[in-house]
């Protein structure tokens, strides 16, 4: 029963963003824009002393933008949940669904579908732009696997916020912490080249391990894989509790 609920919610959400350019376009254009700006505008950074990434700066930035788009795919889905609460549609979901966890699962499926579309476009653009891929099929599977888990984590976070606030005004609350944690990781250069406070913060930021593992996968030199997957699996488990709490709040609010 839960599966039917999830599929129904997912189908509606996917249908909404596929048929409405205002919802579809930002999710695709923003990652492309960041990729263009970072890979194009900052390529000279790879000439800095100590910067040694075998697949080049385009691949280095591709991994960041891939994980960023994964996270923002989840956040944008959170906006959709909030909108559903504002219009009263989510309340009808709550009334109709026998197992309400299926509602959250449905939104998560929609977020994944949204991310898959973005990743397809992003990967195609990166390859056309000359991105060098050193990793083999299994390693690339590892990279996209990490992205899927990041997408799930962000969806659960945003769903938890959306179901608590139940208004699109909660948008900044969904978005800003994700933006913060992503940019407090080694975005432009490897961790070793960071110094000062940003190095200290990036060293304890869980996103750093995800980025380093992703960059290792794409260059064919896997690194911190176990740590990255441990984090990537633990985060959705943790945030599923957050989302479940949100669901209970929404149920209580009626």
């Amino acid at each position: 029963m839960s599966r039917k609920v999830a599929l129904a919610v997912a189908w509606r959400s996917i249908h909404i963003f596929l048929t409405n350019p205002a919802f579809l376009a930002p999710g695709i254009l923003f990652p492309l824009f960041f990729f263009t700006a970072f890979a194009g505008g900052l390529s000279a950074i790879s000439s800095a002393p100590g910067f040694d990434f075998p697949s080049g700066y385009t691949a280095f930035q591709f991994v960041f933008v891939l994980l960023q788009s994964a996270a923002f795919g989840g956040v944008f889905t959170g906006f959709g949940i909030a909108r559903d609460f504002e219009t009263g549609f989510a309340q009808r979901y709550l009334l109709a669904a026998r197992d309400r966890r299926g509602i959250v699962a449905g939104y998560a499926l929609a977020a994944l579908a949204r991310a898959l579309i973005t990743w397809t476009v992003l990967t195609a653009v990166a390859l056309v732009a000359g991105m060098q891929v050193g990793g083999d099929g299994v390693e690339l599977l590892g990279l996209y696997g990490l992205a899927v888990l990041v997408n799930l984590t962000a969806t659960l976070w945003a769903a938890g916020v959306a179901m608590r606030v139940r208004s699109i005004q909660g948008g900044p609350l969904m978005q800003f912490p994700v933006f913060l944690i992503l940019f407090l990781a080694p975005v432009y250069v490897p961790l070793d080249l960071l110094s000062g406070w940003i190095h200290a913060v990036a060293s304890v930021n869980p996103v750093t391990a995800l980025l380093e593992a992703g960059r290792g996968f794409i260059s064919g030199d896997p690194t911190v894989v176990a740590l990255a997957f441990a984090i990537a699996v633990a985060l959705p488990l943790l945030f599923s509790l957050w989302a479940r709490g949100g669901l209970r709040r929404a149920e209580a609010a009626g």
């Binding site: 930002p26 824009f33 505008g41 950074i45 913060l180 250069v189």
Partner: protein, 258 residues
């Protein structure tokens, strides 16, 4: 006091009060650029090791960026306020009074000027406290504030134009990514001469934002470079003139419609 001055004064007062009463407008315009400044100046520190980089302090180089980001926020704030006036029917009520179009637009920009002043002073103060250099000294600080406010007003006129054309706050908000693209496809992170990707270098070279950034950087890094300063002020004036002309025309069309 002439009727024109009174009209501008009343609307300016309303615009300033409305801006100051909306922390939702002021706080992101202050916090977001400073957060990016902190992250970028830490993360891109190694860029100063590149041959030809103009300073040994990336913070000093990056300090120009918040002034531009602040100006982009003014597009949103000025435009959103006017769009709300259109949505709520306030503009229609103003149209029944003998208010002149120029007074309306001028008065609406007063809020942007105040916000621009607060932004410029905050960015400069925080940057200097964090260790940025200011080669042009105290006089340079004043010119930075004046240039920042000029750019804020110039971009604010574009916000007014979009609001008058579309009549909805949502459309004004939708312009934000477009202006953000202008900023990112400029010499925001590296000097023009260090941009290695050919097409990016070309785009950044024709992007006026690169030269606005350079005007700030000339004061922060070099001292007094009158050529770059004049170019920065000229670009701000040109954007302001284009924006104001377009907004005036859009206002006439909107008032005819109503």
């Amino acid at each position: 006091m002439s009727a024109h001055t009174t009209q501008v004064g009343q609307l300016a007062r309303r615009s300033v009060l409305r801006t100051l009463r909306q922390p939702g407008q002021i706080v992101p315009a202050l916090i977001f650029p400073l957060f990016l400044l902190a992250v970028n100046s830490g993360g891109l520190k190694d860029a100063t090791n590149l041959p030809g980089f103009p300073t040994s302090s990336y913070l000093t180089f990056a300090l120009a960026v918040p002034f531009m980001q602040g100006a982009l926020f003014s597009v949103m704030n000025a435009g959103t306020d006017l769009a709300r006036d259109i949505e709520t029917g306030f503009l229609n009520r103003l149209a029944l009074t003998p208010l002149r179009g120029a007074a309306l637009l001028g008065g609406l920009l007063a809020g942007a000027i105040v916000l621009g002043l607060v932004q410029a002073a905050t960015y400069l103060l925080v940057g200097l406290l964090a260790g940025a250099e200011l080669a042009a000294g105290v006089g340079g600080a004043l010119v930075i504030v004046v240039l920042s406010v000029s750019i804020t007003v110039a971009f604010g006129t574009l916000g007014l134009f979009v609001a008058l054309r579309s009549g909805t706050a949502e459309a004004v908000q939708g312009m934000f990514p477009l202006f953000f693209v202008l900023l990112f496809l400029s010499s925001m992170a590296l000097p023009l001469e260090l941009l290695q990707t050919d097409w990016f270098h070309t785009v950044a070279s024709i992007n006026p934002v690169s030269y606005l950034l350079q005007a700030f950087r000339s004061l922060l890094i070099e001292g007094w470079n009158l050529g770059e300063l004049a170019l920065g002020f000229a670009i701000a004036a040109a954007i302001g003139a284009i924006g104001m002309t377009a907004a005036t025309a859009a206002l006439k069309t909107r008032l005819v419609r109503t």
